[in-house]
């Protein structure tokens, strides 16, 4: 099993601390969303894991080894850091062949990843003719080139069209399903919520949360239940008897705060109240994230560096 282990990692650029004593582990078999505003240290952490920047202190390891000691690293770790990395004057296929050659990956595999990322038909076009979305796909193709156990993608949905966003969701789920370690950074909450199982949240270089996504949301957003009934009086009475607080909305539906749908469903069924609609109002990742950041005083007090 190959995990990413970050231990007491700190990186300073001059006086600025981009990453501050970060410790977390990214486990295989699930998609870990790497969240935080721009400048929170997500990309820096990824560069440190890849051995591209030197940490001021602390360590980062992949499968227990420092990245620089990996033999033919593309076969172990695939990363998308910057979609602009491909030279505009090269064709997509040449770009991938260059990378493949350095790690003795056969050109057959280049054609496979081009097919997989939907670039096969434009593979012999120069990269400068590509849209941002196509460049992202090429960056993802490069990350998948060595069929790696660990995949790290920095903002992969940047510039992708709606079809591409759906595609990448499926891809990430599949990679995790195959038992790979998948770390995906983003500052888009709804997007991350659609594919992540687990979250690592950074703010100003520090670790704010490292929890399963469901838990993260449940711990921070109050659960609510939505009900529609023709018998409002009976509903109010039953809920009040069990200490629940219900609020009626203009269109006639009710919201029960701090309540689980399982409990409320049983109560009103036992009371014989006719129900037209009964649903849990799930908290969103965005709400949970905003709740987290508002409790981090220092985090919101100072403007973020871009």
């Amino acid at each position: 099993m190959t995990s990413i282990d970050v231990q007491d990692l700190t990186k300073e650029y001059g006086a600025r601390r981009a990453v501050d004593q970060l410790t977390f582990r990214v486990e295989p078999g699930r998609v870990t969303g790497f969240l935080g505003p721009n400048g929170a240290g997500k990309s820096t952490t990824m560069r440190l894991v890849l051995g591209l920047d030197r940490p001021t202190s602390g360590t980062a390891a992949v499968g227990g080894r420092a990245y620089a000691t990996l033999h033919e690293p593309l076969r172990h770790v695939g990363a998308l850091l910057d979609a602009r990395a491909a030279h505009g004057s090269r064709t997509a296929r040449d770009h991938l062949c260059v990378l493949a050659a350095s790690n003795r990956i056969p050109n057959r595999r280049v054609d496979e990843v081009l097919e997989e990322t939907g670039l096969a038909s434009v593979a012999r076009r120069r990269v400068k003719t590509y849209s941002l979305g196509m460049r992202q796909r090429l960056g993802i193709a490069a990350a998948l080139l060595g069929d790696p156990e660990v995949v790290m993608l920095d903002e992969p949905s940047n510039g992708l069209d709606p079809e591409g966003i759906i595609w990448i969701r499926g891809l990430l789920r599949r990679l995790a399903g195959e038992g790979r370690t998948v770390l995906v950074s983003s500052h888009l909450m709804n997007e991350t919520a659609s594919f992540a199982d687990h979250l690592v949240v950074l703010g100003r270089g520090r670790l704010l949360a490292d929890t399963p996504m469901r838990e993260f949301i449940h711990a921070r957003v109050e659960p609510r239940v939505r009900i529609r009934t023709p018998d409002a009086t009976a509903l109010k009475t039953v809920l009040a008897r069990h200490g629940h607080d219900a609020v009626q909305h203009e269109d006639g539906h009710w919201t029960v705060h701090h309540a689980r749908v399982d409990d409320i469903g049983r109560l009103i069924s036992q009371a014989g109240i006719p129900v037209l609609e009964l649903a849990a109002e799930e908290g969103t990742l965005e709400q949970a994230y905003l709740d987290l950041t508002s409790t981090e005083a220092e985090f919101t007090a100072q403007p973020q560096e871009a």
């Binding site: 591209l52 602009r84 090269r90 260059v98 050659a101 350095s102």
Partner: protein, 241 residues
């Protein structure tokens, strides 16, 4: 990691970027055509050196060699390309050695072919003066010229890795070659012989009066190149990518 796959990758990088084979083609075309022109200019100047005249196309032609070396390295400093490169090859010293080799070999080969062609073309114009050149003199000059063009390309490559910018390198070297070296080259005498370009060009003369001989001159250029490459390697190894 083994060296051969890394070298293969670096060679593919040069081959698949149109501007780089283009720069080598320009090196050949500019050098041979300027040499051909110089060959037709029958001079009666007492300092007239038929061998250097025949190879004088190298003076403008070397700008293409410099561009080749600079561009081969500067392509790594756009849009985080170096990060992708070093993620594939984390051994930075080995990667830089492969890059340098992938620049040196084609520069040397094209340099040699260019020198032979320039000499042949110029001889046709020079006529009788050229026939006095011995075989040994011509072989020396051609070999030296090829090595010189390789060294000057590598000098630019090292400087680009140090400055992390092809534009900075070219805007430093091209004015230097065209202006500084040209102007003080005639004025300053012996000190100018130790400039990276002047020193290495001595090997292309039939006779040359100066502190340096043909091979020691080339060695001086090689020292400049080694210094630039070491500085470039230091930059690649020490700095965050």
């Amino acid at each position: 990691m083994a060296f051969a796959p890394v070298l293969h990758s670096e060679w593919l990088k040069i081959r698949t970027l149109r501007s780089l084979p283009g720069a080598l083609l320009a090196l050949f075309a500019v050098t041979t055509s300027f040499s051909a022109l110089a060959g037709t200019d029958g001079s009666s100047d007492p300092e007239f050196d038929p061998l250097f005249t025949a190879l004088s196309g190298v003076l403008p032609g070397q700008i293409a060699a410099i561009s080749f070396g600079a561009m081969a390295v500067s392509s790594e400093y756009h849009g985080g390309a170096l990060r992708q490169t070093l993620a594939a090859v984390p051994q930075r010293g080995r990667w830089f050695a492969a890059k340098v080799t992938a620049i040196a070999v084609p520069a040397l080969l094209v340099g040699l072919i260019t020198a032979v062609t320039a000499l042949v073309v110029a001889r046709a114009g020079l006529g009788s003066v050229a026939r006095e050149l011995t075989v040994a003199e011509q072989v020396h000059a051609v070999l030296g010229c090829g090595i010189y063009l390789m060294l000057i390309a590598l000098f630019a490559a090292g400087l680009t890795a140090l400055l992390r910018s092809g534009v900075a390198t070219l805007s430093l070297l091209i004015p230097f070659i065209l202006v500084v070296s040209f102007v003080i080259g005639d004025a300053a005498g012996t000190v100018a012989d130790f400039l990276p370009d002047k020193a290495g060009q001595i090997v292309m003369y039939q006779t040359y009066d100066g502190t340096l001989g043909p091979w020691s001159g080339l060695a001086v250029t090689a020292l400049w190149t080694a210094a630039a490459l070491l500085a470039g390697a230091w930059s690649v190894r020490r700095r965050d990518a």
